[in-house]
């Protein structure tokens, strides 16, 4: 069975199904109950599952995560909503020192079934702190997993897979795609949570990215096609661990790699991919792998966000730079 829905609806339906499957799954966050979340991802869920399972929290991010740890000790799972990416930092200590390490600390006795939903990346014209791409912080942290969906189908399945995971998952939702519509096959998931997927095959250049950039990359690939360049586009889906095998296989075929991300370059997931592929494909790379990323500045005022964020133009410029090496 397939259904057309937005990413928001897909997340909502996915969460609903996860709640039905597991009576010990709770949702927690600011304004997620009565209001249904500022993006309405949890719309209607409190009505259906009650205020004991869909918890409108006081305004403290550290406590949202810290109490989730305690709830996990008590045998519950939580899917926490952090209202916006930039507000995950008050919870950083609980995430990297507790959620990430508690399983290890107890020699595997405590299971941290904690999912932390982050509406991330820019593109909606928001004010400061509402457009961050903090995935690198979490990808750097042993004990965590980081994933990002880019389509309604993935939103629907990945949130369920994350909610069923015994490992904590940072779940990055590309907020600018919340209202994008797409087909969701509700019978079975098509991929594992940690698999990268080739979303457009190509032969000249491998291009990888995640979240809202999958669509941008596809557009870039289309434009490039018109100019006779064949780009293979990969949706990373999992940022930690990376599905390096899929990327490697592609680069071994194309000989070229462009990574697209909104986060700044320094010590980022993009840098990680390039450093791994530069080693794994040392003999195959015909040009240095390149990252088209946000600049090394705080996310700018929204008037400038389209310049800050990797655009089709900037991506194609990166493609040109990579191809130049052949000449």
């Amino acid at each position: 069975m397939t259904e057309t829905m937005t990413v928001v609806r897909a997340l909502n339906e996915g969460l609903r199904r996860a709640m039905q499957d597991n009576p010990r799954l709770l949702l927690m966050g600011e304004d997620i109950g009565t209001l249904g979340g500022v993006f309405r991802v949890t719309d209607g869920l409190q009505k259906d599952f009650g205020a004991q399972r869909v918890i409108d929290s006081p305004l403290s991010e550290s406590a949202i995560i810290g109490t989730s740890v305690g709830l996990a000790v008590a045998g519950y799972r939580t899917v926490c909503e952090i209202q916006f990416d930039g507000f995950v930092f008050p919870a950083f200590n609980q995430i990297v020192n507790q959620v990430a390490k508690m399983h290890k600390r107890t020699d595997g006795i405590y299971t941290m079934g904690v999912v932390i939903r982050l509406p991330f990346q820019g593109g909606i014209g928001a004010i400061e702190h509402h457009s961050e791409s903090p995935e690198a912080y979490f990808a750097h942290t042993p004990g965590l997993r980081v994933v990002s969906c880019s389509t309604p189908h993935d939103a629907y399945w990945m949130i369920q897979q994350a909610a069923a995971s015994d490992d904590p998952v940072i779940f990055c939702e590309p907020k600018s795609r919340y209202w994008d519509k797409g087909e969701v096959a509700t019978d079975a998931p098509t991929h594992g949570l940690y698999e990268a997927v080739v979303v457009r095959p190509g032969s000249d250049i491998t291009m990888v990215g995640h979240g809202s950039y999958v669509k941008v990359m596809l557009k870039a690939a289309e434009t490039a096609q018109a100019e006779g360049r064949s780009i293979e586009v990969i949706d990373l889906r999992s940022l930690a661990p990376l599905d390096l095998e899929t990327i490697e296989a592609s680069v071994k075929k194309t000989g070229r790699l462009v990574v697209v991300q909104e986060a700044p370059h320094s010590a980022s997931v993009g840098a990680e991919i390039v450093s791994e592929i530069a080693r794994r494909c040392f003999y195959e790379l015909r040009a240095p792998a390149l990252v088209v990323s946000g600049y090394h500045v705080p996310f700018p005022i929204s008037r400038y966000e389209d310049v800050y964020r990797p655009s089709v133009e900037r991506i194609l410029d990166g493609v040109d730079r990579v191809l130049e090496y052949d000449s």
Binding site: P58, S60, S62, V297, P300
Partner: protein, 358 residues
């Protein structure tokens, strides 16, 4: 109007505009002051409604309305002295007005042309704080600076009932008590953090947290600017005299949406809003002015017209306000040279997307 939720409320002016006396507090303002205060409230509200209109017309990205909170903000704004330093949150447009910030400055953040909006040192009024609670610690730090300077000034910081649950706010209470910092914590309890009622943040009145941390806490009727003024003035005086911090909970109500992105019909009753409309701070002051000071309709009309002028000017300033050189994104990230910044600048120029800045 004593209900349990209004426990401890200090009031000097009834919702009907009648003066009331309350224990140690008495209003020290004369008719002229009251009128000027009224004027500040009317103009602030008018700036606010203009901003809301501009947002609806697509000229602002967002607006966080202060509607209903003019009493709390103007009362507090009046209590401040020029040398006091203020750390606002994002909704204190009427305090900003009292500090002399040009209305267009208040809107810069929301027009997405700046994340600040003015020179904080010109007005002794810091830039908006979006991360809830963050500014409360900044205020305590500034107050520690005042102590080290040996100045007799105070710091005042604004935050909401929601922000009172953030660790940063609570650590600020610990530190202010520990260092006896000259700071006034001004919490506008407007009953909501977006959709979340204050009862989720606290089952007991917020002002009681002051004594819990070892300093006074007061709950004042936030829709009564006269009471807010007196309570805040006293707290600031305490701070300046070296007697340490005070928590003020201004009990008020957010009459509008959280921001223009919000839909309050999802989480609150129209009846509640109606109930609070009867406690409107501006109407209350107007009633006092006509009844006690015989202020006539034409003087009110003058204020209204002045407010219209402010709004008209604001609108034209906003429409003219642009941010056109993305190259600015590289300015002031660092105070000193930085290779990544140079690299970014070069990139933007090569892409033809920005022109060089100073």
């Amino acid at each position: 109007m004593e209900t349990e939720s209004e426990q401890g409320l200090i009031q000097l002016l009834s919702p009907e505009g009648q003066r009331v006396t309350q224990g140690e507090y008495a209003s020290s303002l004369n008719g002229d002051d009251v009128f000027k205060m009224y004027r500040d409230m009317v103009i602030s509200r008018r700036i606010d409604s203009e901003a809301t209109a501009l947002q609806r017309q697509g000229e602002l990205a967002l607006w966080a309305s202060l509607l209903g909170q003019e009493g709390a903000q103007v009362g507090a704004g009046w209590a401040l002295r020029p040398n006091d330093f203020v750390f606002p949150s994002y909704r204190e447009h009427a305090v900003a007005w009292c500090r002399g910030i040009p209305p267009s400055g208040m809107l810069r953040l929301f027009r997405a042309v700046s994340s600040g909006g003015w020179d904080p040192y010109e007005f002794n009024y810091s830039v908006p704080a979006i991360v809830l609670g963050s500014q409360v610690l900044h205020a305590v730090g500034y107050a520690m600076g005042i102590q080290r300077d040996g100045r007799e000034d105070a710091t005042m910081v604004f935050f909401g009932d929601g922000a009172s649950s953030e660790g940063d706010t609570l650590e600020a209470f610990v530190w202010a008590a520990s260092f006896n910092a000259p700071v006034v914590f001004f919490c506008q309890n407007n009953q909501f953090g977006i959709s979340t009622p204050v009862t989720t943040q606290s089952r007991s009145p917020l002002y009681l947290r002051g004594p819990g941390f070892g300093f006074p806490g007061h709950r004042v009727d936030g829709n009564d600017p006269l009471a807010v003024y007196e309570v805040t003035k006293e707290a600031l005086a305490r701070a300046r005299a070296g007697d340490g911090p005070t928590l003020i909970e201004a009990y008020t109500y957010r009459m509008g949406a959280h921001t223009t992105s919000d839909d309050p019909s999802r989480y609150r009753m129209g009846a509640d809003v109606e109930k609070w409309r009867l406690r409107d701070p501006i109407e209350r002051m107007k009633a006092l002015l006509s009844r006690e000071y015989g202020v006539t309709v034409d003087r009110f009309e003058e204020v209204r017209e002045e407010a219209e002028t402010v709004a008209t000017e604001l609108r034209s300033e906003i429409l003219a306000m642009q941010a056109t050189n993305p190259m600015e994104m590289f300015d002031h990230v660092y105070a000193h040279e930085h290779p990544r910044i140079d690299e970014g600048r070069r990139d933007l120029i090569e892409l033809g997307l920005g022109k060089a800045t100073s």
